[in-house]
Symmetry: C2
Subunit: 375 residues, 2 copies
């Protein structure tokens, strides 16, 4: 097999239920990818990650190129061996973090020069180097380097930025060495401008990628506009390739985006929220630090199979979070990822049953019901 | 059954291999109790704790009385239900942490007045209240309130302090309500003065306890003097009751103390060290943050069954510790507790085989060999 396998197993309106095959096994779509920034999904062992239902994880090229370094990871056998995650790994290109985390950036046609946020050392990221780093990490799915335009941005500047990203996409594709079970995704840019998004889709489709991501959203444009752009972009993308909405998002954003034909998601929300005492449930978000949970022996969600819910009451989780215990981060992250993986599993079942809209209605009804009343 | 069951199954010189039965099951001795300060052994799920081999855990009365409060824990079903640890729990009396963590202490015949290190609130701990709190927590093994004398201390002051502790021990015993499978331990004091230690042993033996702890050691007197006092005290204590050396210690201290007849230990060393990048192995302590591990693919200890060793190389653990990842704390704590539980399991087997001295020799030889050479 060269590239990635992708088959669509069922549809419900624009929503698709599929399967992606990689060198490190397959994963089901719609898929949610937990973020494993520095080669670890924060607070989770790989066993816990599997138990939570994760099939594919995302790792950040920017963090790993700075520490421990891509060449070092390669000498240690690649990222799968390094972090002991046997399943598929998608790596981003590093572009987004260069823009958001590093200092002294200089972007030109060649690439981006920046200083590490760790030690101030200068680094260069070009489309070719981003592809090389991802090959050194041994990513199953690599992403092209793109420029992440700021928000808000004028249409003319957005066009310039998108066209630079398209030239970088072409260079990324040229630099990408095909290997069995590994693929490269292009990234659609163009901010909130439909004509630019269409132009970007045309450019990428012409170059040809194993999958297509939608970038530059969830940056402040608001959920309705995001969905509008995602819907129009998804409809224009090739039907037979996976579609990935980058950095999204909240459970309701994921449900809505699956409804317009998106297959893949990543977001720090379940993991980051787990470290700040926020728990996702069918009924919405629970702030476990709130005093109303202090003597509540009931689980966060009695139907949830995670260890936080199967073993512990809210009172204990409240105590751990208030006390700043590491176990609070471990248990709430585990819970949140279990919730997110359960959500995409339910979406897959609903699409198999040709009933995406039925699922959406029950999803919204459960959220509208709200959290448990005080004990 | 009233009180605790204790049987000695084998001996090798003064070393004893026994079994203690409690309301929440039995545990084997020599036993090492991980410290679960605030109702959690830091960074460990209860599943991980069991997998590491722990059979009994210690919880701190001082921390739990302040947050979430003993009455609250009782309303939630006791500490076993609260933290979801089904096995035996020993609680300390709170005395040691009152002395080391709180402010504005006033000690008199009645007890100790102090201010919480969390919010400055005033609390009183008396022998009776310490026993009541431990009953509310539902400890299988409770400890008498004692005064932890400072180090160094003159013999006359040590005598006054020890005698106060003995009067408190008598009041603790009077306040302790016998229940099946629950026991109360007395604590021998007397600093480094043999005559005071003997007097303390006589007083406690006269009162009669389910077990006897040796307190006031590992406070700065040095390992040789500690062992000397522990040996003389153990020899004077009733043979048919468990002996517990509080707050000890390093692996070599545990081996030496088992050799003079100690049955139980607790220490923050494996857990605290796990959070600072220190790993215990058969060959000594490894500082995983050291640069020499940065590209070492070998496990910390290839014979260790813990997930840190079974799945990961030193390079990955080094990366996690340097990056400040929660997973570093999780994996190294898990490893260190696995090491400590393996150590007491080996001690038990050696005593069963009547070969404590043979074990001590191989223990020392492995440590003398030192850590792996650089790769």
């Amino acid at each position: 097999m060269s590239g990635l396998g992708f088959e669509i197993l069922a549809r419900s309106g624009p929503a698709r239920r599929g399967r992606i095959a990689t060198a490190h096994g397959q994963f089901e779509t719609p898929a949610f990818m937990p973020v494993g920034t520095a080669g670890t999904v924060k607070a989770m062992t790989v066993e816990a990650l599997s138990a939570a239902g994760a099939e594919v994880v995302l790792a950040n090229t920017y963090h790993l190129m700075l520490r421990p370094g891509a060449e070092r990871v390669a000498r240690l056998g690649g990222l799968h061996a390094f972090m002991a995650w046997p399943g598929p790994i998608l790596t981003d290109s590093g572009g987004f973090q260069v823009m958001s985390l590093s200092e002294l950036r200089r972007i030109d046609e060649r690439g981006v020069l920046f200083q590490s946020h760790l030690d101030g050392a200068r680094h260069e990221l070009t489309p070719e180097r981003a592809v090389e780093i991802q090959r050194l990490l041994d990513a199953d799915i690599a992403m092209v380097l793109d420029e992440c335009a700021p928000w808000p941005i004028e249409e003319r500047a957005a066009a310039d930025s998108m066209r630079l990203s398209m030239r970088w996409a072409e260079r990324s594709k040229a630099a990408f060495e095909p290997r069995p079970g590994r693929g490269l995704f292009g990234i659609v840019q163009g901010s909130v401008y439909p004509a630019l998004r269409r132009e970007s889709v045309e450019q990428l489709s012409r170059i040809g990628f194993d999958g297509y991501a939608i970038g530059g959203l969830a940056v402040g444009e608001g959920p309705e506009r995001m969905l509008e752009i995602a819907a129009a972009t998804a409809a224009a993308l090739p039907d037979d390739r996976p579609r990935y909405l980058m950095g999204v998002g909240r459970p309701q954003d994921i449900v809505a985006a699956v409804g317009v034909g998106i297959d893949m998601f990543d977001c720090v929300l379940p993991t980051r929220s787990g470290r700040t005492g926020q728990a996702f449930t069918r009924h919405g978000v629970v702030n476990i630090r709130n005093a109303r949970h202090a003597e509540d022996p009931r689980p966060l969600d009695e139907a949830c199979p995670c260890p936080a819910c199967a073993r512990h009451g809210r009172a204990y989780l409240h105590h751990l979070a208030r006390t700043g215990e590491i176990l609070a981060s471990v248990l709430l992250t585990w819970h949140n990822l279990t919730y997110y993986q359960g959500l995409v599993a339910e979406l897959r079942r609903a699409i198999e049953g040709r009933d995406f809209e039925g699922f959406r209605a029950s999803f919204e009804a459960e959220r509208a019901a709200g959290d448990l009343a005080a004990p």
